[in-house]
Symmetry: C2
Subunit: 150 residues, 2 copies
């Protein structure tokens, strides 16, 4: 069974090495349709979280005859992309906005691009801030023994 094979594949994967891009998923997804547990294993999200993402409209997921979720390639790619955005601290509200724009069709591409670029700017600021704060921590570590303000 392809699903079992996928789970094995994930478990025996050199932990954390590939950053799991949307492109990677296209090659990796042997099976056309994945169950929620597979997607969970693949993304590191919990099934609870995956259901939550669907509930709030971030992904549409089909159902099989028994009413169970079936993630196709497209849905998996979407989930992976969402997790990347979340990893970069994009708020869920913004992601939802982006997804809605995608639904509205190709004429919203400029706005989508603007959204991503605004987010990119936020991330760069965050990176700079983190590095600045890190410098302070480093300073504190290296000068340990001084009593100032600690």
């Amino acid at each position: 069974m392809t699903t079992e094979r996928l789970r094995d594949l994930i478990e025996t994967m050199p932990t954390e090495l590939p950053p799991l891009t949307v492109e990677l998923v296209r090659d990796l997804d042997i099976a056309e349709h994945l169950a929620i547990a597979d997607v969970a294993a693949l993304t590191g999200l919990s099934p609870h979280t995956l259901r939550y993402y669907e509930r709030i409209g971030l992904v549409d997921v089909a159902r099989d005859a028994g009413g169970r979720r079936v993630y196709d390639r497209d849905a998996v790619g979407r989930v992976v992309f969402i997790t990347r955005l979340r990893d970069s601290d994009m708020p869920i509200a913004s992601i939802a906005r982006y997804v809605e724009l995608v639904k509205q069709g190709p004429e919203t591409e400029p706005e989508r691009l603007a959204l991503l670029e605004a987010h990119r700017a936020d991330v760069l600021v965050r990176l700079r801030d983190l590095q600045a704060a890190l410098a302070v921590v480093d300073y504190k570590i290296t000068t340990y023994g001084g009593a100032c303000g600690s």
Copy 2:
């Protein structure tokens, strides 16, 4: 009045330029004792947040005859250091632990150092993750027009 002078100084400061270190505070603090509004202006925190930090034990702040908070150089330095730790996403619980160690005396220095170094490691991981996520966003921006998983 030194307090007014300080507020003026802050308002007319070239916005955001100096990263406001504990060391800087030692030079900047003309007045020996600052009111909560001054510390708020200095740190960018709200008075509410400053009271909150005191409430949960992150800083001890003296009171004047009228019962109002009086931040001395030490307290200000502490608040500034705490904001740096928060800027680097150190959880409040860890900061509280650190502060408690400081209270317990100099024999806890090794543990404090360990705490800071563990945090430093976390920050480095976070930096790497952020950069990885940023790369995905960048890729998405540059290849805009492709339909994959978006």
